[in-house]
Symmetry: C2
Subunit: 340 residues, 2 copies
């Protein structure tokens, strides 16, 4: 790989979205005099009577959570998308809008309020994976739903309002922006090359072995060449699977192992329960064959230098392009050393 | 306008970028139990001996600031872009990168450490506008530079590491992502209709009069139909100008008046020095005619409910599309009432 990439400003191309990231490796020496994030390393109890996600507790709408033992899923009490909205559209000159229907769910990963995915046994993470598979299939079969977005916001700095281990699923009738871009770029490559864009990329990454953090028989964990967030990573299946429902029992356990490995490494990096947003991009559930899709899970963590100093994606990033200082390769070196 | 837009989930189309924003008006009632931002309403002195932007003080690289009286501009001591980087490119299969050269500057708006644009006299804001015009022309004439991004990060929550009133200018050899999108969409419309996309939009907005916050003879301040941030606004010239250098003396004063009006209204909204990132999108300086460009300045403020509760653009927003709860029209109503 060109040594200039470690020394001089450049931009890298995201093959999945067609967008660029600006990399400024020489800038990592910049002193930080800005905002520090609060870290809460407080121990949490296994059950918190004030937590609306803990087993047996009552939620804001008066419903009582069951005495659940592993994963518990319910429809979001303040859903951003609903199935009951009317269908309408606005097409008045340059004012363009469309109604959007959907279903939003909350997925509690464990009844144990004190845990995060990083603290859970691989077998228990596997129960979360199985629940995601089941929900993906269930929502796929709903004719209103054409795309299912599984994600997690972890940590107060990522807008998470409750430390109880949980993620969300927002499913909807049309493809959101980011999915639309990946759909187009994978489709164009597949039409031209009759092979999977991400599959071919993984082959190239495994050969180069410069950005691989971990792998098992079925999964690769790496920092993509075009990563935006300082310690961004991606987990992808080695086989060209288009969605998570295709995983066999053994493969779903291997996926759980990969999640466990990277989240544990994250927690060690700055000795803190590492905040991030994670999400799974996979084939739309629109009835098309979607053979061009290769699903993957990404982690976007905001921290840059320590438990309290994050990367701000602000002015230049909002109006221009995302920007990073440390290179993907430098991040990989640090994360790789923490895998155990 | 369709009443459904105030009651039910829908997505709105951004004519300048081709992307969508998800709007969930019914969700504004959601309680907030997450992170609260720190507010610092401390009075600042007019001169701070520890501020590296104040007149006469010494910066981290040993240089001393002059005893400046209005606007002071210098090259960023930790520039993300440099003119001295070598030119190179990486084209190894699916690893694609290009060197990027550029110049980054810091623009101090005033020697008075205690002020922000909202507290400055219109005549003093006008000196900032004049400085932006001068820098835009100066950088345009540099053959390395094909695009000039003027922006400001205001407030610690927006990654601003120094409260001294200042903005930045990052100029570079290629077009960043957001500018590329707007270039393409304006070009397509112009080729087809032989008129300005944003100009035609402004005409439609002025007629509808539902999202106009303020106007003077030369400028409109509005919340775009497709606004992402809760209290996002745009200032645009009524004439189809492609860049800020085209403003006459009277027009630049009218632009300063518009900036003054909206920043003062922002400060009143939650009784706090209102944080935001603002930026000017204008024609590239690539020697092309760029007649399709209509320049505009946007404000992206993160606050949602109060001085301490912001909107988090996280999980769904990062993996799907941006999402908002209060509608653009509701935001306009509140901001309009605060214009004086
Ligand atoms: O240049 P500054 O003010 O030190 O840094 C700030 O603005 C930059 C440009 O938007 C961002 O890249 C940084 O993350 C942010 O902290
Ligand atoms: O749904 P929550 O956890 O209440 O809310 C959080 O995640 C949502 C989906 O990413 C965001 O829209 C909100 O801004 C964020 O605070």
């Amino acid at each position: 790989m060109d040594n200039n990439l470690q020394d001089y400003s450049h931009k890298r191309y995201n093959i999945l979205t067609g967008e660029w990231v600006l990399v400024s490796p020489h800038r990592a020496k910049r002193p930080w005099q800005g905002q520090n994030e609060a870290v809460s390393n407080e121990e949490r109890p296994a059950h918190d009577p004030n937590c609306y996600l803990c087993a047996g507790n009552t939620r804001i709408n008066g419903e009582q959570n069951p005495d659940y033992k592993d994963v518990f899923i319910f429809t979001n009490d303040f859903a951003a998308l609903q199935t009951t909205s009317p269908v309408f559209s606005v097409n008045e000159g340059l004012f363009i809008a469309e109604s959007e229907q959907g279903i939003c769910k909350v997925v509690c990963f464990s009844p144990d309020h004190s845990k995060s995915l990083a603290d859970m046994a691989v077998e228990d993470i596997n129960k979360v994976v199985k629940a995601w598979q089941k929900e993906y299939l269930l929502l796929s079969s709903n004719e209103l739903i054409n795309y299912v977005q599984i994600f997690e916001n972890k940590g107060a700095v990522m807008g998470c309002s409750n430390p109880h281990p949980h993620g969300q699923i927002w499913s909807q009738s049309t493809l959101p922006n980011e999915v639309e871009k990946k759909d187009q770029h994978q489709q164009a490559y597949y039409s031209k090359n009759k092979s999977s864009l991400l599959g071919d990329y993984l082959t190239q990454e495994l050969k180069a072995n410069e950005r691989i953090i971990y792998q098992n028989d079925d999964f690769v964990v790496l920092t993509p060449f075009w990563a935006v967030w300082p310690f961004e990573t991606m987990i992808a299946p080695k086989k060209n699977y288009k969605d998570i429902s295709e995983l066999s029992d053994g493969e779903s356990l291997a996926f759980a192992d990969a999640i466990s490995k990277i989240t544990k490494a994250y927690d060690k990096l700055f000795q803190t329960s590492f905040p991030y947003s994670s999400g799974i991009h996979q084939a739309p559930t629109n009835g098309a064959s979607n053979d061009h899709w290769h699903w993957h899970m990404s982690f976007y963590p905001p921290l840059l230098r320590s438990a309290t100093v994050k990367k701000f994606m602000v002015g230049y990033e909002m109006f221009g392009s995302p920007q990073r200082d440390i290179t993907a390769e430098q991040a990989v070196e640090r994360l790789k050393a923490l895998i155990s």
